[in-house]
């Protein structure tokens, strides 16, 4: 009897002690691991954006290979939601409740992110770097949500600035997708045009499903635009430039970071994308390349991106993976989270992580400088993150010629 009691006591002790050794106060954190979740479309029409999650995955593997964070490895769980918010919710809830995530990184798609935003924020689960430039992430700001994707108002501002100040163009028009993406661009373009003493000569909304570009080209021609900002989808950009060429309308085309993958765009437009001005938030370093010089994405000059190419892409990406803007963006969006984890220290909790994130000021990874501030429910800037953009011109061989260095472009609210 005594022997039995002793055995039970020993088992109880081991269980409790074992749990104490293994466990941690915070969900998703053990002695040796930090669990981070992510969703992205790996299949379906938005599958090209799936490279974001694969980029993040390679990035975390690189970090783990270098020893991890404060002795812990990052266990990255990413799942395919097919760009369907119902599946995003299902996957997020399953990973959060079955496995237990410390936090979430990136996550492609505005609708997908909005479907889980309340769930994550209601449970005080940190989420860093949603990969869509929507004002929903920062306006109103959320304590546990840190944006780092450059909001599209900044893209529009630098493009108008380049058009007006560098190229001397005065008749600037904009075609914009009739959603958050396009409307942020429109707000930024209007603001910068007013600063330059100009007004946009045409503001043409477009639906995602629009495929016939001829009516839009007619409107742009009628407005006699000498430059056109395109805040539309990749396919529409290709079609608009192609239709413009066919209709003998040849303005200076300009587009956003979303459509800035030069080799890809040159390939799908059969070279017509050459000469287009694009807004950039990473991939190469304009300060190193220098204004007027060109940059090859396959031989990046940015020291951080060069390291990613060698240590993450070459070692951990699948052999069929393409080194491009979307893949690198997946690494870039995770950088501030990693910095926050480093600053939070070994004794990691979500509250300490948030406090550490709020100390990030002018953090420089592969994107523009990233800064956060103490949480203020009335000030979106405390969670905007990155506001720096630079601009370049795409060359015929799919390279970038730098036109304007990193420029601070503050967040502009949609009218």
């Amino acid at each position: 009897m005594k022997k039995k009691s002793l055995s039970i006591a020993a088992i109880m002790f081991l269980l409790v002690f074992g749990l104490a050794l293994n466990g941690s106060a915070e969900q998703g954190v053990t002695d040796t691991e930090i669990h981070i979740g992510q969703w992205s479309p790996q299949t379906g029409p938005a599958a090209p954006w799936g490279a974001v999650a694969r980029g993040t995955d390679a990035y975390f593997k690189m970090i783990n290979a270098e020893g991890g964070i404060h002795g812990r490895k990052i266990i990255h769980h990413y799942f395919d939601d097919g760009y369907n918010p119902a599946k995003t919710v299902a996957g997020v809830k399953q990973l959060q409740e079955d496995v237990g995530m410390f936090g979430w990184v990136s996550g492609v798609g505005t609708a997908c992110g909005l479907a889980v935003k309340d769930y994550l924020m209601g449970r005080k689960i940190p989420w860093v770097g949603p990969s869509s430039g929507s004002s929903h992430w920062v306006d109103p700001p959320q304590k546990y949500l840190f944006n780092d994707y450059p909001l599209y108002s900044g893209d529009a501002q630098i493009l108008v600035k380049v058009a007006a100040e560098k190229l001397g163009l005065k008749r600037i028009a904009i075609t914009y997708q009739n959603d958050d993406y396009g409307k942020l661009g429109l707000a930024g373009a209007r603001k910068q045009a007013a600063k330059e003493g100009l007004s946009l000569v045409a503001e043409i909304p477009m639906n995602v499903a629009d495929t016939d570009m001829a009516p839009f080209v007619m409107e742009l021609k009628k407005a006699n635009a000498d430059s056109v900002l395109m805040f539309i989808g990749v396919g529409q950009v290709a079609r608009l430039i192609g239709t413009g060429k066919a209709m003998k309308f040849d303005p200076r085309w300009m587009t956003t970071t979303t459509c800035a993958d030069a080799p890809l765009m040159i390939a799908i437009t059969k070279g017509l994308f050459a000469g287009t001005i694009v807004a950039n938030f990473g991939l190469f370093e304009p300060q190193v390349v220098g204004i007027g010089n060109t940059e090859d994405v396959n031989n990046p000059s940015h020291p951080v991106v060069k390291k990613y190419y060698e240590d993450a892409f070459k070692k951990f990406a699948a052999k069929e993976e393409r080194w491009g803007l979307t893949f690198v963006a997946g690494m870039a969006y995770a950088e501030p989270m990693l910095e926050g984890l480093k600053r939070a220290g070994r004794d990691l909790t979500r509250e300490k992580f948030v406090a550490a994130m709020e100390t990030i000021k002018d953090f420089k990874g592969s994107m523009g400088r990233v800064s956060y501030g103490s949480f203020d429910p009335n000030d979106p800037h405390c969670r905007v993150g990155q506001t720096e953009i630079f601009a370049s011109e795409v060359t015929a061989d799919g390279k970038y010629k730098v036109l304007m260095d990193w420029t601070e472009m503050p967040y502009v609210k949609i009218d």
Partner: protein
């Protein structure tokens, strides 16, 4: 075996004591589900319940009346947007807003039913498809509906209750789904249901017998759209955010697939079809976590089906399951159930 001897036997709700037993067992199970399963599974069941509601309505149209619709995502969208806007703009209470949004969808269903009087088969499919696509385009242009930027669903409050968690929604959704399932079953057993069936089986004969085709065809569309509208209104609150892209053609096709795979022209079939396909849609990616089989499927996918080394096997398995069901049991899951029942009733012969 299931032969009915008189009219009253045909219309009774429960055909035998066995059916009552299983119904009670099902109710007990549904009552304890939220206390057994994790929150995540409750979300999956809520999602199933919404699809069950829509597919029950679609079954009244396709299974009982013999008309086709590839535009049900449009009615679903009208219900979703209608409910949210009626609460946020007209300040109606949730249940009233849901009902009104369902009725608005029904009016659109009635309107869409008018061309159905002259069209059938693939021509009707194309007309309804056009409706579904048009709805999302129009919503994307209307400011009060959030245009392309979408709408947030407000907090769901009914009287003193604040529905916030998946468990809360469960206790709202399941009773609504059960009520609508009973309503659908009763409709099929009334004069209206018999008129639907007669139109499906022999339209000219039905008209000769005095069935008003104009009335019953448009009614079938209106009823079916009402169910879709109610489903949409609930969906907006389970998802918390809606935008036009959610209500795509592929969603309409998914609803129709659920009805066909379940078994058209029955009650249990569409319920089973909606549950199975909803579950597969959300859960099939977990197939990769099954020991050994998961690893094998992953390497199979990465070797032959995926360019980027990321597995997409769940979609291949999903398609394979649909093909398998349709190939071996054209009557769908309901057909499998009928055969199983017959086998046990006649066993050992």
């Amino acid at each position: 075996m299931d032969m009915k001897r008189d009219y009253y036997e045909d219309i009774q709700l429960f055909s035998s004591g066995v059916v009552i037993f299983w119904f009670v067992a099902m109710m007990v199970f549904l009552a304890v589900v939220p206390f057994i399963f994790k929150n995540y599974y409750i979300y999956v069941i809520n999602f199933m319940a919404i699809n069950v509601i829509v597919v029950l309505g679609l079954n009244l149209l396709v299974g009982y009346t013999g008309l086709i619709s590839l535009g049900h995502a449009g009615f679903f969208a009208i219900g979703a947007y209608g409910t949210v806007v009626l609460i946020t703009q007209a300040h109606l209470p949730f249940l009233l807003a849901l009902l009104v949004a369902g009725l608005i969808a029904a009016i659109f269903g009635f309107l869409l039913g008018l061309p159905a009087l002259r069209l059938e088969g693939p021509y009707l499919a194309i007309a309804t498809l056009g409706f579904g696509v048009t709805v999302t385009q129009v919503i994307g242009k209307i400011k009060i509906l959030g245009e392309r930027q979408g709408l947030h669903a407000p907090d769901l409050i009914i009287g003193p209750w604040h529905f916030d968690t998946d468990k809360d929604f469960y206790f709202l959704l399941i009773p609504i789904a059960i009520i609508l399932a009973f309503a659908a079953r009763n409709i099929t057993k009334t004069k209206v249901g018999r008129a639907f069936i007669s139109i499906r089986d022999a339209e000219i004969a039905a008209e000769t017998m005095g069935v008003n085709l104009t009335f019953y065809k448009t009614l079938a569309f209106a009823l079916s759209a009402f169910y879709a509208g109610i489903g949409g209104g609930l969906y907006a609150f389970v998802l918390r955010f809606i935008e036009p892209e959610l209500f795509s053609l592929s969603l309409s096709i998914m609803f129709l697939t659920m009805a066909v795979v379940g078994g058209l022209g029955s009650m249990m079939g569409p319920i089973a079809g909606a549950c199975l396909l909803s579950w597969l849609d959300l859960q099939l990616r977990n197939i990769l976590d099954i020991p050994y089989l998961g690893e094998w499927l992953r390497s199979l996918s990465q070797s032959y089906f995926s360019l980027t080394g990321v597995s997409n096997i769940q979609y291949i398995v999903f398609g394979g399951i649909l093909l398998f069901i349709m190939l071996f049991e054209p009557l769908g899951i309901f057909g499998i159930w009928i055969r199983t029942k017959k086998y046990w009733k006649t066993w050992p012969f």
